[in-house]
Symmetry: D2
Subunit: 467 residues, 4 copies
């Protein structure tokens, strides 16, 4: 029996991974801290979780396929006092869904003991792998990250940080890392800045994490974003920063559109505020086109914050048009033969009282295949909706991502097959409108610093077959 | 290690149970239907789940402690074709959290094979039990429901429905049932009407269920509410209704305040609409008192719909002031020594951008102990909120419920210890205001038909020590 | 996927159940004692296990389908100090393999709290059930034992023991019980003595158990057999014995042939010694027939002890002709489509060096369907055995058991279809010989006190359709 | 709670590992074959199990800590048709009990895809690891086996087999392997021949396995032992053999004493026959010393076959003096604070009828710490044994093993602390006698070809600090 998880939004772009690293001056139950912080980053990866921490001069790694609670909850009742640890939640990108690819990876080499976790995809991995294999390296996983371990081992500089710099210069793509090197914590953010990384301090502990919500759970308020190209080393002597050359800045705009938690800051911006502004821009466009609904609703929860913006700007009332079943997704697998429609109905149900007889502006973040939207529109119609206008707070998704996001194949992307009118017809909506890429950039004050490759096909890194 | 479930809102009134019964003219995979419908009623009870269905002339019962997916998901991949089945989700009321008390109960007796599931509490159970034991009955569980089985066996009337009527007349309190009697489906709604019960039909199947959302998942649109005192019998000959004498109508007002799903109808009313009206009434009261916030937000998800009403009536913008972690509660147990504050922080995190510097109207449904609210207020203050005005869409909870709701002891109820000003001080809010019981009744057009016992201590059934 | 357990000797008669009861003057971790003692009785029932013990004036019951370790091992790390407890291992007899039927059963009634566990089958259960149901009893399981609870509740005598006597007189068949009545331990052995029951004392604890091996694990050396019809009551005042009228003695001869552990005593006899004598009798018969093998081997482990006896009497060498895989049966399920032959091969493998070229006397305890024997004979032939003479230490099994043993249907019993020559042909042996019933009785000095119903169809209790 | 497995004979020398490799001309469900064959080798390692098989041109690896059924039973209901696969059962030797160290290991390198499983320990591993790390290798496990993968990758010869030969020449110690190289099966037996390895063919499948019992389960009768130093390569073209230089032959004599299954052949010898001869030699020694018992019994099951030999040679009757509980060890963990005595009693119980008043010759295979023997002797005394003479079918264990066996530290070995008289006193026996190493060699016709290092400290490989 093949099966699909009800929670799995088969119609949604998948997140990056999430990273945490913790260093404490005093002995501290760091595995437990890693649990709490990784749990706040669970939205960045639900398919695997793992931690590494220092124990008796060695590094203990514990990881498995599964959610943070499924894999790590045993640490809630254990006391493992230590000075340093790192953690990772994983959405399977290139590596496939195998235990070998769950992170952190660990190795002993001529640099000592290293544990490492990565966020993003190395674009010249194939070439690096080839050269490594030629000189005799054995590759035991299908993660990019293992290649980094090999490079670290084969590079000889005065210090570990210098070695790391050299390695980082050799790799291309998205390359944000947290590491343990013996009993030191090392973190490095991608010189393009594709992925976010933050550092905060409180009471002798230093924490690096992908989003600020992970710092919030530890009640850390003193934090800043790690700079693109910055390498951080935390030891008993404190925090040291050093840098490699910044490359073309390429903040992933999808973090602001959908990935990051609304209560987080990424790229110096409030995620919530950015999404609200996207919704406002959608409202402005409708105003220009003289489209007026009776109410605004969101597809929960991806469309929530843009819908709020739309309501504020348009003056239309915000209402809950769909009720969401909170119990969906809790260790619960549907047989694969179940129709998608039933799966959607288990998660969402229209609130007839809200939608019956109404002209509805329905806001979501993006449109991939359109399957779920089609079912939702059908349900809303059955509940009596008069008109349904779907508004997306991002542009048409048309191109692949080479840096760590899982987007379905080009031909499955509905915007590669149909224009807006065709999409509206396909999903049964009265109209469908996307936020143009220029408007989106305006909303987030993007300047030239963001990667919008999945929308416009422009990548800041040379990709074989693209560019 | 004792433990507390992060999901468990230790500060929330607990639901009743949920019931489903299905009869199909043709052979049909009813256990799977029961899975889907019970799953929509999961909010009515997460501590146990069970089904009974006809198999080869006998009744098969499958039940256990745990959620619907945990207990019943094996039925997703099985085909069990049958004509009739019933299902139950349970929040432990009187019976304690033991496997013996999970429903449906099953027995063979001189009336044949009976499976039964109950919603509500029998108020004269002690007296009935005493008389049964005196004449030699053996009691194998601590549920009220077992007593009903004994009474059915000991009562002799011409038909099973007549026997049931006789039994229903002997018991007092809240007594809504679904049953299988051999291969018939029987459902009876409480003559006070405490709990909701609906019946719908489609393509030869008849479904009874506690809320309409359970009918929605089967795409049944032809339904009506079962009447207080109505007994329904479904056989191959069709659906028959009969009645026992109605008693003083006593619809549980808490169904509208908090229990039922917002997309359901109960007591002939739209739950969503009622909650919106409660929020509007709160806004009117604030207008009268000349209190004006910068924005309205809810404590998710219990305050969502009243908050919408407040926003609509007051003209204030509705915003998400708290981000909710969707992964909370998925088979994940916190060690009991964890502080409550951490537990709340794992579930909710303020969105600083929304609340900083703002005068906030925060809407929730009710206030029990005040512990969670106190933590939320603290978090919002830390995030920079200027003023926090807590508004509750129900009156002060001051009295116990004798009909199936789990309310903490009188002395733990904050409204029995403090007045509104004292409460505001305790939780750190700038003001706290409840919706007066008369206003609440007005909102739901209650007339004299609702039980507000938990607010006003007036019960429609004689309770030893009360009244 | 249906499945069969490799351990399940689908070709073997199934055991009775096993009982333990413990009373301690001082507070003691009795659940742990129950674990150890039930574990020694695991061979008497592997399909369910349960215990009941006194806790704060009430009775706690913990039971489930599964082996003693699977169900009860959590008690190895708990301390539950108490004075009294009972335990049960179950092979599903009449009740079918459902959780409802796992014992001990528990009820509250006008006699107080009662927990009860039973060994054996009540032969007039149908009639008792009918009369109970007529007067209004509800029956929640399909065990005989629930009927006993009903009868206890409905019978009124001065003392509980008198009530029990009255009940025991009403029931027929095999009726050995251990009970808790509030904080007293009660045990009663069947007035026919079908099943064994022992009582031992040491250091202020009193233990009743089905076999002496359960007393051995607690290092109790002061013990005696409970008498047929004896009722034992253990309270803080000590042990009291009382009796109901003995009935026709009917010790189950299969306990000596196969059920009981070889290190146990039952019916005043050493199980090991009896089996050795059966083997000697087989040797004598072969000597009379002038059959001479090269060696004696057993089908492990059921034939081990008779094989030893055969070797001693015949002077032939005892050898291990089959190697047994110790890992078979450990929570390991074969798909049902696997051939039986593979299942047997996973458990047993011939030792070529022993059997090649040899005339083999192969001893087993009994022959049911002959399927396994047929496979073993085939394997031995492949390994080079020259001649194979199968000897069974019991007579032909031809009749059902009404007292608690699970024998396959009459028509599946090979001895009802074929004579010895036909059987030899069917299984591929050179000869097959059973121990005649008279010889078997002689070996165990049976007198007129044993039930050999499964061999000779003579039952000491009136059975509808037999006798 | 630390815990000890009841099955774990804490007083027993631990096995090597077990290996299987299968190649089939036609597509075949090889994972299922691996299950059955590994299950027959379960006695060679219970702490981890794994398989690798070819799938769509790649190699799939599935492995975990746990028994064969626990880890691999899912393959019983799957169909995975393929041409080649390898399997491994593991007793943790050097690598510690971590998932990273469970085999087969897998890597991609310049030789293609390789999966590998190993039996034995490399004695110059430290030196090899050092040189690998120096040139930049990263080491991700603590197994010796990973080093072999590195060496294979770094060695360049014309063919893979030539490369392997080169690698095998570089490593010292016990080095028997099964491998998949892309879709080829490779097996190589140690040039010392420490561990056994067999190859068999039937109907187009070729199987290599540690013991013949693994071939038996597949009903393969056409087999031979792989030669020391032989390398076997199986492809679609058939089986090819090639050799590296044989080294000093060093068959592990403990395979014959205890490790291998009695129904297996290893080193060209019948295990059963060898053990019987050891028992005969013990009997001869007692005859010379004029010691005469009433009966012979074994410590089950390690002493079974030598006991048979003793009985045959001495003419004394063989009897079962101890009953073994078959349910011990099935996923069942004792709390660590339980006394060892209780653990032994749960497994073994004397048969009073056999031992009371008797002079007993008790045969076991070897003596490590003596703890278990001491408890058994105590139990037999309590059961009335008159005299107990312990006979061991091997010499005094006094030295460590460097080739893959887990022997406790020198100082814990009882024979390093006490002479035979002292041992008898310590364990409470009337006498203790070992089989002298010369006699043992004679029994197995050892010539100069066996390693008896654990008895005599003579190793055929240079060991730092020994020799």
């Amino acid at each position: 029996m093949l099966s699909i998880n009800v929670e799995n939004n088969f119609d949604q772009i998948k997140h990056y991974c999430g990273l945490v690293g913790i260093y404490s001056d005093k002995l501290r139950n760091i595995p437990q801290d890693l649990f709490y912080t990784l749990f706040t980053l669970q939205h960045r990866g639900q398919e695997g979780a793992g931690i590494a921490y220092e124990k008796n001069g060695n590094i203990t790694v514990y990881k498995d396929l599964g959610s943070v609670p499924a894999v790590l909850s045993k640490y809630l009742s254990l006391e493992r006092l230590t000075h340093v640890g790192i953690g990772h939640v994983k959405y399977s990108t290139k590596g496939g869904n195998k235990i070998e690819n769950v992170q952190p990876l660990y190795a002993t080499c001529n640099k000592g003991h290293i544990a490492i976790a990565q966020n993003g995809t190395i674009t010249n991995a194939a070439e690096i792998k080839k050269s490594l294999v030629e000189i005799g390296a054995i590759i035991q996983s299908t993660t990019d990250t293992e290649l980094v371990l090999h490079l670290l081992s084969r590079t000889k500089k005065d210090t570990f940080v210098d070695t790391l710099k050299d390695v980082l210069r050799r790799i291309e793509g998205a390359l944000t890392f947290v590491m343990m090197h013996d009993n030191e914590l090392i973190a490095s953010r991608d010189p393009h800045g594709f992925m976010p990384l933050w550092i905060g301090k409180k009471d002798g502990i230093t924490v690096v994490a992908s989003e600020t919500c992970a710092l919030d759970i530890l009640q850390i308020t003193d934090y800043r974003e790690v700079m693109p190209g910055e390498i951080i080393r935390v030891t008993e002597k404190g925090v040291e920063s050093t840098y490699i050359e910044q490359r073309k800045l390429s903040f992933c705009i999808f973090e602001l559109v959908y990935f990051a938690r609304p209560d987080s800051y990424v790229f110096g911006r409030s995620v919530y505020q950015m999404r609200k502004k996207m919704g406002m821009a959608l409202a402005e466009a409708d105003e220009a086109d003289n489209i007026k609904g009776d109410l605004v609703m969101s597809v929960p929860d991806s469309g929530n914050y843009a819908a709020i913006g739309y309501a504020l700007r348009s003056g239309l009332p915000f209402e809950y048009g769909l009720s969401r079943n909170h119990y969906v997704g809790r260790s619960f697998i549907m047989p694969s033969q179940a129709e998608r429609e039933l799966v959607v109905r288990m998660k969402l149900n229209p609130i007839r009282e809200v939608v019956a007889g109404k002209v509805i502006i329905m806001v979501d973040d993006s449109l991939v295949r359109g399957t779920t939207s089609k079912i939702i529109v059908k349900m809303l119609r059955e509940a009596g909706a008069k008109e349904i206008h779907l508004r997306l707070s991002s542009p048409e998704v048309k191109c692949p991502c080479y840096f760590g996001i899982d987007i379905t194949s080009r031909k499955e992307l509905i915007s590669n097959r149909l224009d807006n009118k065709g999409i509206a017809e396909y999903i049964g909506a009265d109209s469908v409108k996307f936020l143009p890429v220029e408007k989106l950039k305006e909303c987030v004050d993007a300047g030239d610093n963001f990667c919008c490759g999945c929308f416009d096909g422009k990548y800041s890194v040379k990709i074989e077959g693209e560019n």
